[in-house]
């Protein structure tokens, strides 16, 4: 079985601080995988190192079986990694449609088709088509960020904290698209603090704690595993 994403003993350091410690994980084609853990566990660091915004200090990173450590971020994106960052980071001065257009590397007709497809996933975006990014609400921005990441027709989608700052209702609206996306053939890595929801929408999960992988398994099992909650929430 060839994994769409595989890391072997991946470590990332900020200066002398180890942010990720010898992390080994994999993602299969078409599955949704959750990365869960409290603040500072290293979820964002892992996501950023996969897309190429952070350099590995050691270990291997394979995308679709090929070593991509030497590939720069913008080329990794073109290889088929979609990225929706923490804090959404939609382009504030671009309209919704423009935000989508700039992320597509297909021809104009295909881009139009993709955009329409996005609008069917999140109809709210169609209504705001001409609005500038910064005028959207947090939830709309999050939808836009997810769609934008899908515009390059990625085979792997990285979602970093899509629920951050969203109301529970909006969180549901965004997160419940994940199984759909995965089913359509795009593997998803979801970094989430919201443990329950993350486990609800994914197939498997990795639990991180201060840069180290502490638990992994099928999401359904982890949901009922009491040690997950303990690791995650401490004493609650």
């Amino acid at each position: 079985m060839k994994y769409i994403l595989e890391t072997r003993n991946l470590s990332v350091r900020y200066g002398e601080i180890a942010a990720l410690n010898e992390l080994t994980m994999y993602v299969e084609q078409g599955e949704a995988v959750a990365l869960v853990g409290a603040n500072g566990a290293g979820k964002t660091t892992l996501i950023k190192s996969i897309i190429g915004l952070l350099a590995l200090s050691q270990g291997e990173l394979l995308f679709d079986g090929a070593d991509v450590r030497a590939v720069t971020a913008h080329l990794r994106a073109r290889l088929g990694i979609g990225y929706s960052p923490e804090g959404r980071r939609v382009f504030p001065g671009l309209s919704v449609r423009e935000n989508l257009e700039v992320a597509s590397f297909s021809n104009a007709a295909e881009t139009r088709r993709l955009i329409d497809q996005m609008y069917t996933i999140f109809p709210a975006l169609k209504e705001k088509e001409r609005s500038l990014g910064w005028t959207l609400s947090g939830g709309q921005q999050q939808m836009l960020a997810v769609c934008r990441a899908l515009m390059s027709k990625p085979r792997l989608l990285l979602l970093d904290e899509p629920s951050l700052g969203l109301s529970p209702k909006l969180t549901d609206e965004v997160l419940w698209r994940i199984p759909e996306i995965a089913k359509a053939g795009t593997a998803v890595v979801l970094a989430e603090q919201n443990l329950t929801k993350a486990l609800e929408v994914t197939d498997r999960a990795y639990v991180l704690r201060v840069g180290t992988l502490v638990l992994q398994g099928a999401s359904s099992e982890l949901r009922s595993n009491p040690s997950v909650r303990k690791t995650f929430l401490g004493g609650l």
Binding site: H74, Y83, F91, E98
Partner: protein, 305 residues
């Protein structure tokens, strides 16, 4: 007076091209390009050289100037910006200043120290409208500036390349993570900025001539216009350009608008000399900043908190 208003508009049109280019680079890189004034000089000499060699009007020479300036702007970004992109912003300040000395000295060596006259955009002469003679050059300057600003607008709002350039300007890291080649985009942005400045050089070279040492004055005016309008705001850049042009033309001509006042107090005349007007410009700038520390239009991108 109508004539003067018209001249102001024409001057502001050319300055806007400068200020817009300056702001484009600023937004894309976060760096101040102090060689921007030298782009005017190089563009002006290019236009003057081509114009006298080919004996063609500016509008025909323009595409060559634009292309040449794009290359020069792109090269400049590779030398003066790219190696320093992760360094303190003030390094780019100095490197672009050094580049401006290099560009202007090279111009001096190639073209000599004499002022040169550029070709008129369409033709010289004037059109009589009522009792006002409208200079064809001024008219075509406004026209050309409007065309170029519109072209710039179309590129940035209608083409995918332009939209990506804007995306890079707004969030470089995110643009990179979405598959855009940020470095190439920055080179292109410098190229477009240089091309716009070169076009302004073509306009100035006919009306005001061009000498190798002109860069600094254009640079300072651009800097004032861009800052006054609001750091990073394109709309602000145009308004800033209008402001600077008004202080250059309208303020010194105020005595004509109110002759009685100045007639009564002859000493007032000195307050409207061109030199005094420049002083007023800086004082007005301080006043604007006192009340609006972020310039007239504020920062370009508003963030939702």
């Amino acid at each position: 007076m109508i004539q003067l208003l018209f001249n102001t508009l024409s001057l502001a049109a050319a300055y806007s091209l400068l200020a817009i280019g300056f702001v484009l680079v600023l937004n894309a890189t976060g760096a101040v390009n102090l060689a921007h004034g030298s782009f005017v000089v190089v563009g002006g000499f290019l236009a003057a050289g081509l114009g006298s060699w080919l004996k063609l009007p500016g509008a025909v020479v323009l595409p060559i100037v634009l292309a040449g300036m794009m290359i020069i702007g792109g090269l400049l970004s590779l030398i003066a910006y790219y190696p320093l992109r992760n360094r303190p912003a003030v390094s780019v300040f100095i490197s672009t200043l050094s580049m401006s000395a290099i560009l202007e000295t090279a111009t001096l060596l190639i073209f000599g120290p004499s002022p040169r006259v550029g070709p008129p955009i369409l033709s010289s002469g004037a059109i009589q409208v009522g009792d006002v003679a409208l200079n064809v050059q001024s008219l075509s300057t406004v026209l050309l500036a409007v065309v170029l600003v519109a072209a710039q607008y179309v590129i940035f709002s209608r083409t995918v390349l332009g939209k990506r350039l804007r995306a890079v300007a707004e969030d470089r890291e995110m643009a990179r993570a979405l598959g855009m080649n940020v470095n190439a985009m920055i080179v292109i942005t410098f190229g477009i900025a240089a091309a716009l400045a070169g076009a302004a050089g073509l306009m100035f070279a006919n009306t005001f001539y061009i000498t190798p040492g002109d860069g600094e004055a254009y640079m300072i005016k651009t800097y004032v216009a861009a800052t006054m309008g609001g750091w990073g705001s394109l709309r602000g850049a145009i308004v800033g350009a209008l402001f600077v042009a008004a202080f250059e033309v309208l303020v010194p001509s105020l005595p004509l608008a109110m002759p009685s006042l100045v007639g009564a107090l002859p000493s007032l005349e000195a307050l409207f000399s061109p030199i005094a007007s420049t002083i007023w410009l800086y004082l007005a700038f301080l006043v604007v900043l006192f009340f609006r520390p972020q310039g007239l239009f504020g920062e370009a991108v508003q963030q939702r908190a």
